[in-house]
């Protein structure tokens, strides 16, 4: 049943809400009630539960499925990656800590509704005041939940900017949340980098992901401003064994040797922040590093198949390591060809990725932002997103090795960079990030 058809009373929190005196509630009040009532939002335990549960239902009706917003971990990390991404970084413009906290609460409440396939308040049907803009912007009416996930994070500048403790949070900043140091070859653009807050919206339907970001931005107007935004398509990294490996814009399978959400032990070891490393409010959370990586498509398309395969260390069509047959055959870094040269070249991408023994969960998307006016070429590439317990020990050394030696560097250029601390998930009635403010 689509949202439009649903009878008024069943729509619960989404219907026109009447206050105690029969007065219409403001959008803010409407969220608060909806959040507190939690009508029909608890569809499962969230986090790992979702990933494990996902498969069969997903096959039956892949698009309609709602992923629970509430859970031990935030959704959108271990959740099998959806087809579309709409990522937005925000800067906080208020100086008032309470306004920031209230916004996070409103965001979680709105996110829970949208992830359940519900509008954020009234869409403006019969009986709605002709003098007010509807609460929800409406473009998702009739679109199913489409496995929408909304994931929130905090950037280093939220805790401290130019030496200033903006919200009295500096002492609570996790050590692991440090800016990514400059790397050789970086072509970073400040207007595509950083941010105080991030919202990662993923869904199988791009309009649903857009709707989520748009409505969150609207709710936040005056408290936060959009800093940069990236839309993504064609998920490149499979994050679950249930998924076929997708291909990136260079035509290679991407995600073959990724961490898989089903490996709970590997996830605990590499992705979820444990109790020991602190701070307490991050337990069950993780750190997101994003890199906007422009891919020089035109240059790549002129390179020979042999060059292309040696660049990655894998065969193009099968995805198998060079010299092997199956996509999932082990990468043997010792194997040599008849010429005595390693089959997986010294400067190939997978060797550099594997060599250090670090492990990260990659969850990237392809992007295109039209045409690069300077060169008249496609402005397209990879919006690289990865999750880990400690970027300083996982992403940073890995990226440094690649930045120094990767054969891929001939064809790519890193133009954006950001890091965010993603707190654990919220329980119903709570909100994501609550722990950061509790008792501080």
């Amino acid at each position: 049943m689509s949202r439009e058809e649903r009878p008024e009373q069943e729509r619960g929190a989404s219907g026109p809400l009447d206050g105690p005196r029969g007065k219409r509630l403001s959008r803010r009040e409407a969220f608060r009630l909806a959040g507190a009532a939690g009508t029909g939002l608890a569809l499962g335990a969230g986090g790992m539960g979702v990933a494990a549960r996902g498969s069969r239902a997903e096959e039956a009706s892949p698009d309609a499925e709602a992923v629970p917003f509430y859970g031990a971990h935030q959704a959108g990390i271990a959740t099998p990656s959806q087809h579309r991404l709409h990522f937005t970084a925000f800067d906080v413009v208020t100086e008032d800590r309470d306004e920031l906290r209230d916004l996070l609460r409103e965001w979680s409440e709105a996110a829970a509704l949208m992830c359940a396939g519900e509008p954020v308040g009234d869409v403006g049907g019969a009986g709605f005041s002709p003098y007010l803009p509807p609460d929800d912007t409406g473009e998702a009416i009739g679109h199913p939940a489409s496995r929408l996930t909304i994931t929130f994070g905090f950037g280093p500048t939220l805790f401290e900017r130019d030496g200033e403790d903006r919200f009295g949070l500096a002492a609570r900043r996790p050590k692991a949340l440090a800016p990514i140091p400059p790397m050789p070859g970086d072509a970073l653009r400040p207007e595509l980098s950083g941010g105080d807050l991030c919202v990662q919206a993923c869904a199988d339907d791009p309009q649903v992901a857009f709707h989520a970001v748009r409505n969150l931005a609207r709710i936040g107007r005056g408290v936060v401003e959009m800093r940069w935004s990236q839309m993504g398509f064609g998920r490149t990294s499979s994050t679950s064994r249930q998924q076929e490996t997708g291909r990136n814009l260079f035509g290679f399978k991407d995600g073959t040797n990724n961490l898989k959400a089903e490996d709970e032990r590997a996830m605990d070891r590499n992705v979820w922040v444990g109790l020991s490393e602190g701070p307490g409010w991050m337990e069950g959370g993780t750190y997101l590093v994003s890199r906007r990586i422009r891919m020089l498509i035109e240059v790549w398309d002129r390179s020979s198949l042999d060059d292309q395969e040696k660049t990655f260390g894998r065969h193009k069509v099968s995805g198998a390591p060079i010299g092997r047959e199956g996509e999932f055959d082990a990468v043997d870094l010792e194997a040599e060809g008849e010429d005595g040269e390693p089959l997986v070249p010294e400067n190939s991408h997978v060797r550099l990725g594997a060599e250090g023994g670090e492990s990260i969960l990659r969850r990237s998307y392809s992007y295109t932002d039209g045409i690069d006016r300077e060169r008249g070429q496609l402005d397209a590439g990879l919006f690289f997103v990865c999750f880990q317990r400690d970027p300083g020990r996982q992403f940073v050394p890995m990226q440094r090795r690649m930045a120094e030696n990767d054969a891929l560097n001939e064809y790519i250029s890193h133009t954006g960079s950001a890091v965010f601390a993603l707190p654990p998930g919220a329980r119903e009635g709570g909100y994501v990030g609550e722990g950061l403010f509790a008792g501080a």
Binding site: S26, S129, P134, A217, G222, S229
Partner: protein, 302 residues
């Protein structure tokens, strides 16, 4: 019959996609960041205002009646001031005093900009008084911006005398229209938002005063007019939702603070002095205010 919501999203590499959503019609027009697109959006805004202003009737309360009455007085006062100022401005044009005409141009237009949604809804005076080049066929183009072009592009008043006389007559006609005007409580509600949409949709790009670069006069006047409309409603809103009044007060204060550094004597610095970051800051500040302001309409259903 709802006012348009204008959103701006920055997509990656400085590409700005402006989407004008005319709620209620379900009509969406994606537009590039170029001048043309902005104009179209601004026009949509103006047209919607006209319809809304003409066709809305609301069950009234004493507070709402007081609101439309006091807003009506404001509109009349500003129109009177517009007539006087236009008289001086057109006088300077006709007497060939380029410098004086340039000096008087922006301060005159302020009175128009403060009441633009109402003024633009009356008769067919808006295109005559306020059309920009290309808005109307070349042979019909007159009004403020025609003279603006001559003053700044060619540094002359030559050939502008007739435009000046017609402009004066049109502004007089506006006064006559305004005197017979019976405003509805929905007029200040719609007007307060329309005036900010004028800023978001068009003026922020600097295309309104494209020859004189006096855009900050128009922008500040739009904001002042928006506030005047809101103030007339404030007593009614206060009773319904005092928190909303507080929020709007704070956002007006933030917006004026954002404008403050650009003050120059009695007026404003040329808009060309604002860089991209400063224009964006101003635009964000306008959006931040417009969002709570768009909820003022709740008083109309009391």
């Amino acid at each position: 019959m709802r006012s348009p919501v204008l959103e701006k999203f920055v997509l990656g590499v400085g590409a700005v996609l402006a989407v004008a959503v005319v709620a209620g019609c379900g009509q969406t027009a994606p537009q590039g960041s170029g001048g043309e697109a902005g104009e179209t959006a601004a026009e949509t805004t103006a047209e919607t205002t006209a319809e809304t202003t003409a066709a809305t009737e609301v069950g009234s309360t004493p507070e709402l009646e007081a609101a439309s009455e006091s807003y009506g007085e404001y509109v009349v006062d500003e129109t009177e001031d517009l007539v006087d100022a236009t008289d001086r401005f057109t006088g300077a044009v006709i007497s060939g005093d380029v410098e004086r005409a340039k000096r008087l141009y922006a301060p005159t237009r302020v009175h128009w900009e403060r009441i633009e949604p109402v003024a633009a809804s009356l008769g067919d005076l808006d295109p005559k008084i306020d059309a920009r080049e290309g808005d109307v066929p070349e042979e019909e183009w007159g009004g403020f911006h025609r003279i603006e072009q001559a003053l700044w592009e060619e540094n002359t008043t030559e050939g502008q005398e007739e435009y000046a006389r017609v402009l004066m007559a049109d502004v007089e006609a506006l006064r006559t229209e305004v005197e017979g005007l019976d405003l509805e409580p929905s007029d200040p509600v719609v007007g307060s938002i329309e005036l900010l949409n004028e800023v978001s949709a068009g003026k922020i790009t600097g295309e309104e005063e494209r020859y004189s670069h006096t855009d900050l006069y128009s922008i500040a006047a739009n904001i002042e007019g928006s506030e005047a409309a809101f103030r007339s409603l404030e007593p009614a809103v206060e009773g319904e939702d005092p928190e909303l009044v507080q929020e709007i007060d704070d956002r007006f204060a933030d917006l004026y603070a954002t404008l403050e550094p650009y003050r120059d004597g009695d007026g404003w610095v040329p808009y060309t002095e604002l860089d991209e970051r400063e224009r964006r800051e101003l635009s964000q500040s306008v959006d931040a205010l417009a969002e709570p302001l768009s909820r003022v309409g709740q008083v109309l259903q009391a």
